[in-house]
């Protein structure tokens, strides 16, 4: 998958000034653009402390001395490099395609665009492709060669198998020792409680979690009419139903599932965003990366 193929040029142009910011301080050993939990020399003033022998005299705040005859040193927040992990749900349900683009294709495009953005701003990005098990996991790293590797992995993975995101997140949580960003791109057609438990675990691990919930328009509108023999994408079997008669209840169930997921995520400080697989990628990314999302509580 080439960069140009993965992310259309126009999208890149529109996202040129968009950066990904970690909503919480991340731990990194490298100086990057993101807030670090450590305070020190940095371009961003964080406050004063009394001068101690050995401090750099360049950081003495002479204005404070002039006013108060007190020797105070300026303290700065140190920005570190972001470590993000993009989890792409590659289960069978992601293969559903009603408008010429499947949910998985949309997810891949989003993942590729995110990876490019992060690499370009010097962050480290990793990738995890999963279905009922973790297929492939690439640790976060930087550089174009790493990006190409990620894109290659995305290209190779197709939708198959069943969904079990909860267990995947639990497994990933064990590997995420440092603070970072976790972006889950999935249709979330999984056990809600199990999923939430896993997400809470990630939050406990001080991860900044964002969920991009992808829905196919047909999954929302249920435009089918008459009798249909519905065949599951993940081998659930077949169901005969009069679409006209089940539509209302189905939509109600679907709506309840999404709203409860959203509410639960909000309570946990997780950004939950729903988008449609036929939506514009740039707009979706803008919404995802927008700073208007509710901030996570400081830790």
């Amino acid at each position: 998958m080439s960069l140009r193929h993965a992310v259309p040029e126009e999208v890149l142009e529109r996202l040129a000034r968009v950066g990904i910011t970690a909503r919480q301080a991340v731990e990194s050993i490298l100086s990057g653009q993101h807030r670090s939990i450590r305070r020190g020399l940095s371009v961003e003033f964080a406050g004063h402390r009394p001068y101690q022998a050995g401090d750099d005299l360049r950081h003495l705040d002479w204005m404070v001395y002039a006013r108060s005859d007190r020797l105070d040193v300026r303290v700065y927040e140190e920005e570190t490099r972001l470590r993000a992990t993009i989890i792409v749900d590659c289960s069978g349900s992601m293969s559903y395609d009603s408008h010429g683009r499947s949910k998985l294709d949309f997810a891949k495009n989003i993942a590729a665009a995110l990876g490019l953005l992060m690499i370009r701003q010097g962050d480290a990005v990793g990738l995890a492709c999963c279905d009922s098990s973790l297929r492939q996991h690439i640790q976060p790293a930087g550089g174009m060669s790493h990006l190409i590797q990620l894109l290659s992995i995305l290209e190779k993975n197709n939708a198959s198998g069943t969904t079990n995101i909860g267990s995947i997140l639990n497994a990933l949580a064990e590997h995420l020792t440092r603070r970072g960003l976790v972006i889950l791109i999935s249709d979330c057609l999984d056990n809600r409680q199990q999923l939430m438990n896993s997400l809470h675990l990630l939050r406990y691990r001080k991860q900044d979690v964002r969920i991009l919930h992808i829905t196919d328009p047909d999954e929302h509108d249920f435009p089918f009419q008459g009798n249909h023999q519905f065949i599951g994408c993940e081998g659930e079997g077949e169901l005969l139903a009069d679409a006209d008669r089940v539509r209302a209840n189905y939509q109600q169930y679907m709506s309840t599932h999404c709203s409860e997921l959203a509410h639960a995520c909000q309570s946990a400080g997780i950004q939950f965003q729903t988008c449609y697989s036929d939506a514009d990628i740039a707009v979706t990314l803008l919404q995802l990366l927008s700073s208007s999302q509710p901030k996570a509580p400081r830790t």
């Binding site: 293969s95 169901l239 539509r247």
Partner: protein, 719 residues
């Protein structure tokens, strides 16, 4: 027992397959669709599937049931509650009943009971049986129908008329029409008063034909006989004029015959005679058993034109009331045109003319005109009531054709032979082997050798001879020395054979009469002058000639005294607005037609006795309708005679014959009680509607639920 009136509708049950077909076809149109969010679908279906399945099945069942009940209702099932098997008359299947009602004059008093018997018979019928009704007067004539209630209404409104009953003809009509019925069990029901004369039991040939027809058709014959409480009957049997011709101011006698049958026990009755509606005579008549009385009432008319006389017996409680009244229509003439034709300038007809014209001290009613043969061409013969040909040697073909037309259309001709008569010519052209107008062949002349031939009168009661004294073999006091021998042959083509009114003492006919068409011809074997006899010197000559001419001039065409069952035919001189009315001034339906160059106003069949009038603004003509003499008979037919007439000698083919006199007999025969048949089809219609209601209700509930859910789902989910 359930009976289906329209079982052929059961073919509609095939329509039950329509909802099933739609159901299965609908099921086949299933599309296979891959879907991702199966967990939500399965949750929904788990809840809805059972209810949906139940609703679908219920809707399908209701639709099938709706169609089933509708088709079943269209088959018109009836629950038959009658018990038909315990009477001695048993029907094996649906019945076709043809009711023949004798509504003649004699049944007037018994009509209510006849209707009661008929209704009791109809109670033995059940729904699905066919029935048709016909009456002897023709007033009721229905097609086969299944509506028994409508048939009962027809019976209840039936009434009697003054027509004549003819049971063989009634039965023949029934046998012709029973073939129009479809049901297998055929019955012919004769409802009558049992009047013996109506059955014409002496007409064996006719009854044999009827027996054969009955046997071929395998029908059950039923006679519902309304018995009379009494057979005592007094009838006004005849009313006629002694003299046929009425002239203005002339006194005439009306003879009224009153007949009592053998059952009459001395009874008094009031005879009332009316002239033009005004009572002219009333008298008490005492009647004994088996007696005929002739009452003579003098009448006189001062105005020329149409008049009527009717007589009525009052206060009688006899078997038949319809025969207690009778009438006659009279024409009072102020002149009778007579044409005398001879060939010798009036010499042969001189005495005739004098006899007709002169009447001492009185104005003669006869207007006599003389003509010779040459002038006969130019005469309008229809302007004369009587034409007398005296001693005519020959007539050319135009004269003959002219005369024959005149006679056939109602004219009267008196022909006298004489010395100048040419027998050969007469036989060839006037007789023509019966096709001509002369009633008999003229043979040779018989000349007297010594004593002359005396004439005696034979038919004293003949209206032409009423002027002569009524005694047996009274000499006519006229002798003839010569006369032509007439051969009174029966011609094959003749309407009627000639009758001898007077004859010579040796038996040779003197005066013959023969009807031709509407008219008549009288032929005298000798002359009316002194050439061959002393006839003009006979004191009876004048009344005799006047009587003959009166007789010949008295025939009214068309007749004005008719029988019920005939129609009034009134010749109108023009096409002015004539109408015919009854005694109550109700207009009788009539139509105008043209016959033999004349306009005739012809009425519908007259079914009520009484006086009718054809009138316009300034003219009126009276017609009188009387009942037929046959209706005077108060004797009833016996069961044995009834059986005999309807039983064929070939016993293998005889149909069951039954006769009932009372309602109880009928009920006992069929053991029929007026059953409460249940019209099940109504309940089926109700069930059909109920199923339709349930189906609509379920469908409505499902639709409303889906709409609510769709609305709530649309509200809840906004993209």
């Amino acid at each position: 027992m359930i009976n289906f009136e329209a079982l052929w509708m059961a073919g509609g049950f095939i329509a039950i397959g329509i909802p099933l077909l739609i159901h299965f076809l609908h099921r086949k149109r299933i599309r296979h669709t891959t879907f991702s969010a199966m967990q939500f679908l399965s949750d929904v279906l788990m809840q809805q599937q059972q209810r949906m399945r139940f609703n679908n099945i219920l809707i399908l069942v209701m639709r099938i049931a709706c169609i089933f009940f509708l088709i079943a209702a269209l088959c018109r099932p009836q629950w038959i509650s009658q018990q038909l098997a315990s009477g001695h008359i048993q029907r094996q299947g649906s019945c076709a009943a043809l009711i023949l009602i004798d509504d003649s004059a004699s049944s007037r008093e018994l009509m209510p009971f006849m209707k009661e018997l008929t209704l009791a018979y109809m109670d033995t019928l059940k729904n699905g049986d066919e029935i048709s009704i016909y009456s002897s007067s023709g007033a009721i004539n229905t097609d086969p129908m299944y509506d028994l209630d409508a048939a009962r209404t027809i019976i209840r409104t039936a009434k009697s008329y003054d027509t004549t009953s003819d049971i063989p003809q009634l039965l023949d009509h029934g046998l012709q029409n029973i073939r129009r019925h479809l049901n297998p069990e055929r019955e012919i029901i004769i409802v009558s008063d049992g009047q013996l004369s109506a059955w014409h039991s002496d007409d064996e040939q006719r009854w044999q034909q009827l027996q054969t027809q009955c046997a071929q058709l395998h029908i059950r014959l039923i006679h519902l006989l309304a018995p009379r409480e009494t057979t005592q009957n007094i009838s006004l049997s005849h009313i006629y004029l002694k003299n046929h011709l009425f002239s203005v101011g002339q006194k005439n006698d009306v003879s009224i015959h009153i007949q009592s049958n053998e059952s009459v026990i001395a009874v008094d009755t009031l005879l009332r005679v009316r002239k033009d509606g005004r009572i002219i005579d009333e008298r008490i008549i005492h009647c004994n058993a088996n007696e005929q009385q002739i009452i003579s009432i003098p009448v006189q008319f001062n105005d020329a034109g149409s008049h009527h006389i009717d007589a009525e017996l009052h206060g009688l409680h006899d078997a038949i009331q319809a025969d207690n009244r009778r009438g006659i229509s009279i024409v009072v003439n102020d002149h009778i045109p007579v044409l005398l034709v001879d060939s010798f300038a009036g010499e042969q007809s001189y005495y005739l003319k004098q006899a007709l014209l002169s009447r001492s001290g009185e104005h003669s009613i006869f207007h006599v005109e003389h003509s010779d043969l040459a002038a006969l061409h130019h005469k309008d013969l229809n302007a004369y009531k009587v034409i007398i040909l005296t001693d005519i040697p020959a007539l050319d073909h135009r004269h003959i054709a002219h005369l024959e037309r005149y006679i056939v259309s109602g004219g009267s001709v008196l022909v006298s032979l004489g010395p100048h008569s040419d027998p050969d010519s007469m036989n060839t052209y006037w007789v023509r082997n019966g096709d001509g107008f002369l009633p008999a062949y003229v043979k040779k002349i018989r000349h007297a050798q010594a004593a002359w031939f005396d004439v005696v009168s034979r038919s004293q009661q003949h209206p032409a001879l009423l002027s002569l004294p009524i005694t047996d073999s009274v000499p006519f006091n006229s002798s003839f020395n010569s006369y032509y021998i007439l051969h009174n042959d029966t011609f094959e083509s003749a309407d009627d054979s000639a009758s001898v009114l007077m004859e010579f003492a040796n038996g040779d006919p003197f005066l013959l009469e023969r009807k031709r068409g509407e008219g008549r011809v009288l032929l005298c074997a000798s002359s009316f002058d002194m050439q061959w006899g002393t006839l003009p010197q006979n004191p009876l000559f004048v009344p005799w000639i006047r009587g003959l001419c009166s007789y010949m001039a008295s025939f009214l065409l068309p007749p004005r005294t008719i029988e019920c069952g005939q129609s009034i035919a009134h010749p109108t001189p023009d096409v002015r607005s004539w109408r015919i009315t009854d005694e109550l001034h109700n207009t009788i339906s009539s139509q105008l037609d043209r016959t033999q160059g004349r306009h005739i106003l012809r009425s519908e069949t007259i079914t009520r006795a009484g006086v009718y009038s054809a009138h316009t603004d300034d003219a009126i003509t009276y017609y009188v309708a009387n009942i037929n003499e046959q209706e005077y008979d108060a004797h009833s037919i016996s069961t044995d005679l009834f059986q005999h007439m309807l039983t064929s000698s070939d016993t293998e083919h005889n149909n069951p014959i039954h006769m009932f006199h009372s309602v109880q007999d009928i009920i006992q025969a069929w053991n029929a009680q007026r059953g409460q048949d249940l019209a099940i089809w109504r309940y089926f219609i109700g069930a059909c509607l109920l199923c339709l209601l349930i189906e609509a209700s379920i469908t409505h509930q499902v639709v409303m639920r889906e709409r609510r859910l769709n609305a709530s789902g649309a509200d809840g989910e906004q993209r």
